[in-house]
């Protein structure tokens, strides 16, 4: 809502500087997002609470001027010379404004034209600077086409009013020649963000009411007593409301013999500053009144309605649309309407979409003489549904969607008829036709000072509370400690009972001042400390992985099936169903993801050119579609992926070797060890994402933890990546967190000397190393403190399909020093068992 200060001042006295007023409004919930200066002096200094834009007009340099004659330029067709009086002296002013051409060579003008005159030295907006619309220029003496020029008549653009630069401003006739323009019409516009609960203030009067309440100034209501001298409206039109729930009130007024012409410049200026384009006196009057009072109005061509009624007095009917009904609205679009849409019709058919937009046929046009003016109140739900179904937002609908009090309808109609009479001439018919089948009952709320104390933490007397509410025009009666508060007849936002109390609390706090409510600390006891173990463990996983050199990423959870399936080779998981969005915003974001790996590989794809080493993890949910019972699962997953060299490049070399399956496995082993998860097994098993020969299932105690492996070559092809190892893993967070052991045992540090020994074995090539190690460990028992694989070797001399595994063993007894004999006995036991169970032979060196 753009509020020109000059307009606001018509209804409330403002003694505060504009910035201070803006700040107070902001604190009271009418957030001033910007103050745009249009002429008035801008504040000095930088400590502003609000964004400030615009331009100030020099009071000496920019004045009202009077053009007495427009002369042709001797050498230029597209320029004219104006004889201009600036109140001090005559000037000859050069201009190319097309709106002066009609006066060219017409001799002395009577009456003269009132224009804005910028003297030499005036600072105005540089209308020719296309890169910076706020750039200014200062008028200097120069020659244009042989004629001396030092001053000019200004366009709106040059004064920062609008983008209009075709012609110069033609002021109203009563503008006093020589008067400083800033004094005549300087302004500043507050741009206020209107939240839904404060829609009652989406008009100048509404903002003035808030200003009055928070500054203590008195609100000056406009006088609503239009000159009504025409033949009474009664009997010339009637109203039939079919459903009062949809349309509690409908009011009509009539003005006859109007002349369609522009409205006065001051009114056009206000509309422009408020962000509404002036059209003609009739349309401007409806818009002006809506902005002023808050009642959206609609003007019908009365004669069209009489024609449609075959010469009889028209009957205006409001009702729900019928099946298949349609209407051509005044934007010339034929619209099929839904059954929830309320229509204004006559007996011949639809006239307008109630509260949203008028119809083309009955709209006011150039030849309109007689205007029937509608002011009504509508159920906000129907208006809202119609606006969204027709995609037809409008200033009128904006207000009706948020609720307009029915009491305002007749006030708006009367006010608008008077503006029409003043701006377009004509005679206003006596009286209104007013149907009000469902009178609004303004809510009443009972309140006590104890409520205020409980809610706001401040103690006020009943009288103080009443004073605060009265400032916002609530009527309050006090009986002892009880306040009986009645909502004023312009707002619909105060509920009943406890809800009404809460609503009033906000009003009390706003007028009292949020800033004056003292800060306190929660006084009630510490609530139940239940913690959030899942999150805490998840954060522990994050810390472990970051410590292991991985970077956390967060990717989009909305994706497309095509993008999501890129994590799989062709043919895998055919027919997978997704949780689908009903209203996707773009073709690449239509479903909820099921594969963390898909977006993770995109991240690798995006980064591999700028990074030699990429190590990523992401923790987040995947979304499964509705199951048979219509339940939706969100399963938290952990994805990991490595790409590129093992260490960062360095001036000393660094390790250039690319990371492979075993790098990732080392990370996962460290992660699981860090979480004290025991009994982990890596079983060869193909998961679709991975190369079937380089894929492992990770199990803990027989439960699936996830899969890891080398990304399947056909998956790699789905991304633009060089052919390099790409180890990755997908783990189930829930399964992982379930196995975390907080109560792990710590073994004492041994003080007996260890006996170290190497053991090299030759086994069949496909015997998993994990099994060999497990056998050694098992057989060695507690005395075998550590087993570490340090070499894997395949070679001809070992025999066809054989490999050698070399382990270093650490024997250590907790209580005594082991003898060579004791060690040898254990070793022999191990060798024998390995030979027996997996055919291992000791390797001879």
């Amino acid at each position: 809502m753009k509020v020109p200060i000059s307009w606001l001042k018509e209804y409330v006295e403002i003694s505060l500087p504009i910035e201070e007023l803006a700040f107070k409004l902001t604190l009271a919930g009418l957030e001033v997002e910007e103050i745009r200066y249009v002429g008035l002096p801008m504040p000095e200094g930088k400590e502003q609470e609000t964004k400030i834009t615009g331009i100030s007009w020099g009071p000496e340099e920019i004045v009202v001027g009077e053009v007495s004659e427009v002369l042709p330029h001797p050498d230029a067709d597209r320029l004219v010379l104006c004889q201009l009086d600036d109140g001090k002296q005559q000037h000859t002013v050069l201009t190319g404004a097309p709106n002066l051409f009609p006066y060219k060579g017409k001799g002395p003008l009577d009456p003269p034209l009132k224009v804005v005159y910028a003297r030499e030295g005036a600072t105005i907006i540089d209308a020719y600077n296309e890169t910076d619309p706020t750039a200014t220029t200062t008028l200097k003496r120069k020659k244009i086409r042989g004629v001396e020029s030092y001053s000019m008549a200004c366009s709106e653009k040059e004064l920062g009013i609008s983008d209009e630069h075709e012609g110069i401003i033609l002021l109203d006739q009563d503008a006093p020649t020589g008067m400083s323009l800033v004094e005549y019409m300087g302004d500043a516009v507050l741009d206020i963000a209107i939240t839904p609960n404060i829609a009652r203030a989406a008009n100048i009067l509404g903002v003035a009411r808030e200003v009055a309440a928070i500054t203590g100034a008195k609100l000056k209501y406009p006088e609503i007593n239009p000159v009504m001298e025409g033949e009474p409206i009664k009997g010339r039109v009637s109203i039939d409301i079919k459903n009062p729930e949809d349309n509690p009130r409908f009011v009509l007024g009539l003005i006859e013999n109007v002349e369609i012409k522009p409205s006065p410049y001051w009114a056009q200026l206000r509309l422009k500053l408020a962000g509404v384009r002036p059209i003609d006196a009739l349309v401007d009057a409806t818009n002006y009144t809506m902005l002023e009072i808050g009642e959206p109005l609609h003007a019908f061509d009365y004669d069209v309605l009489v024609d449609r009624a075959k010469g009889k007095p028209p009957v205006i009917i409001t009702r729900r649309a019928k099946q298949g009904e349609s209407l051509t609205t005044l934007d010339d679009v034929e619209r099929k309407v839904d059954d929830f849409t309320v229509l204004v019709t006559d007996q011949a058919g639809p006239l307008s979409l109630a509260g949203v937009m008028g119809g083309a046929e009955s709209e006011v046009q150039g030849k309109t003489k007689n205007v029937l003016l509608e002011g009504a109140s509508w159920n906000y739900v129907n208006v809202r549904r119609t606006v969204s179904a027709q995609v037809l937002p409008s200033e009128a609908a904006y207000r009706f969607e948020r609720g307009v009090h029915p009491e305002i309808a007749p006030i708006g109609v009367k006010r608008c008829l008077e503006w029409m009479r003043k701006w377009a001439g004509g005679t206003v018919a006596k009286g209104l036709v007013d149907e009000y089948p469902l009178p609004q009952v303004d809510t009443r709320v009972a309140l006590t000072p104890a409520d205020v104390e409980r809610w706001l933490g401040i103690s006020l007397s009943a009288k103080e509370i009443a004073e605060l509410l009265t400032k916002l025009e609530f009527s309050v009666s006090i009986k002892g400690d009880q306040l009986d508060v009645t909502t004023p007849p312009h707002r619909l936002d105060i509920g009943e009972g406890i809800i009404g109390k809460a609503d009033l609390m906000e009003e009390i706090a706003r007028v009292y001042g949020y800033d004056k409510i003292p800060e306190t600390n929660l006084a009630d006891g510490l609530p139940l400390q239940v913690g959030n173990r899942d999150l805490e463990l998840e954060e522990m996983v994050r810390d472990q992985l970051a410590g292991l050199g991985l970077q956390e990423i967060v990717t989009y959870r909305i994706t497309s099936p095509e993008a999501d399936r890129k994590a799989l080779p062709p043919g895998a998981e055919e027919g997978r169903e997704y949780l689908e969005l009903a209203n996707p915003i773009s073709a690449d974001k239509t479903v909820m993801r099921q594969e963390l790996l898909a977006s993770m590989l995109e991240v690798v794809e995006k980064n591999f050119r700028s990074k030699e080493r990429i190590a990523l993890f992401e923790i987040g949910p995947v979304f499964l579609p509705e199951d048979a019972e219509l339940n939706i699962s969100e399963l938290p997953k952990l994805a990991l992926c490595l790409y590129g060299s093992r260490s960062h490049p360095s001036w000393q070399g660094g390790e250039k070797k690319v990371m492979d399956y075993y790098d990732l496995k080392g990370i996962i082993e460290s992660l699981l060890a860090g979480l004290h998860i025991e009994g982990v097994k890596y079983l060869p098993e193909a998961a679709p994402y991975f190369h079937p020969g380089k894929s492992a299932r990770i199990d803990v105690g027989g439960n699936l933890l996830g899969y890891m492996g080398e990304v399947h070559p056909q998956v790699k092809q789905n991304y633009k990546l060089p052919d390099q190892p790409l180890p990755a893993a997908i783990l189930d967070i829930n399964a992982l967190l379930e196995r975390v052991d907080d109560l792990y045992d710590v073994e004492p540090v041994p003080d007996q000397p260890p006996v170290l020994e190497d053991l090299a074995l030759v086994v069949d090539g496909d015997v998993p190393a994990q099994d060999v190690q497990a056998l050694i460990q098992q057989t060695g028992g507690k005395t075998l403190r550590d087993v570490r694989l340090f070499d894997v070797y395949r070679g001809e001399q070992l025999g066809e399909g054989k490999k050698s595994l070399a382990y270093s063993l650490v024997y250590q007894h907790p209580e005594k020093t082991l003898t060579d004999k004791e060690v040898l006995a254990i070793r022999n036991k191990i060798v024998k068992r390995l030979e027996k169970e997996i055919g291992a032979k000791l390797r001879s060196w």
């Binding site: 839904p196 809800i499 609530p527 959030n532 967060v554 949780l579 190590a615 987040g620 949910p621």
Partner: protein, 353 residues
Amino acid sequence: MQEKLDSIKKEALDAVEAITEISVLEAWQVKYLGRSSAIMEVFKSLGTLSKEEKPAIGKAANIVKVALEAASEEKESQLKQERINQSLAGEKIDVTLPGRRTVSGGLHPTTQTLREIYRVFGDMGFQIYRSQEVETDQYNFQHLNFPPYHPARDMQDTFFVKSAEDRGDDPLMLRTHTSPGQIHAMLEHTSKYPDDPPPIRIILPGMCYRYEQITARSEIQFNQVEGLAVGKGIAFGDLKGTLSNFARRMFGQDAKTRFRASHFPFTEPSAEMDVGCFLCKGEGCSVCKGAGWLEILGCGMVHPTVLKNGGFDPEVYSGFAFGMGPERITMMRHHIEDIRNFWANDLRFLEQF
């Protein structure tokens, strides 16, 4: 004999005097103090001497040995010191060459900001409550006092989710805020303690979704942290106190706060909390757009309807709620102009945190 000892001593001491290297000293030690050195030969020959001669010669020989050992020790420490001096004088590395980088990982900036928020509220007794991202209209809107067609729904453009069943006016959707968690948490709590439920203090973090074009300033997914405190006798002053404490912990002890009236359907009264710009100290900068204040969070007293929907009697219980965006806070703190950086996962961005 005494002359022999004197000559051994002289020869050895002269020799040691000239030594300039440790290796030569070691050879000297073998030659003059080793098993077959002259002085050791003297000791070995003591047995052949008479009872009268033995003590005197033995004593004299020992004096020589001690003298040689002392000389050796002195030489050794002199040579070591010389070596240290040499090293100090001559050895030099380029200390400005870059260090060897270890591989290090990192946490996403949002995770880092979330953790700070968890910590501050955790210190004030708030527990963390998480709930699902796919919600129903009932929980995302209706229970939170957004009736169907309420204009406040405009501020939260919604992604709807298809369902096999006709859900009428309770469609599935991606949550537009973490507020539905308030209802879940309250209902869990009040059904667990139906009589006289104890106070509740939680924060609700998580990913939310809005149907918006992705631009430098708006994203279709973003994290939110909501907070909720319900109890007996919680007033607006407590909201101001708690959130100002948060602001001081998060943005520095001298952070100023201001509360201004606002509107959210699920709170009444509602407020926005601004924090005095901690980057320019209120002087005006590009982050606060010259205003000196940064919009940090929305808050308010829990609406009676919401309390009721959560199973609390609004005549007895009251509470406050608030919500903030960790990405927005991160952007302000680090001068990030474009919110798209958060999910773009350019490592050159992420690795700076």
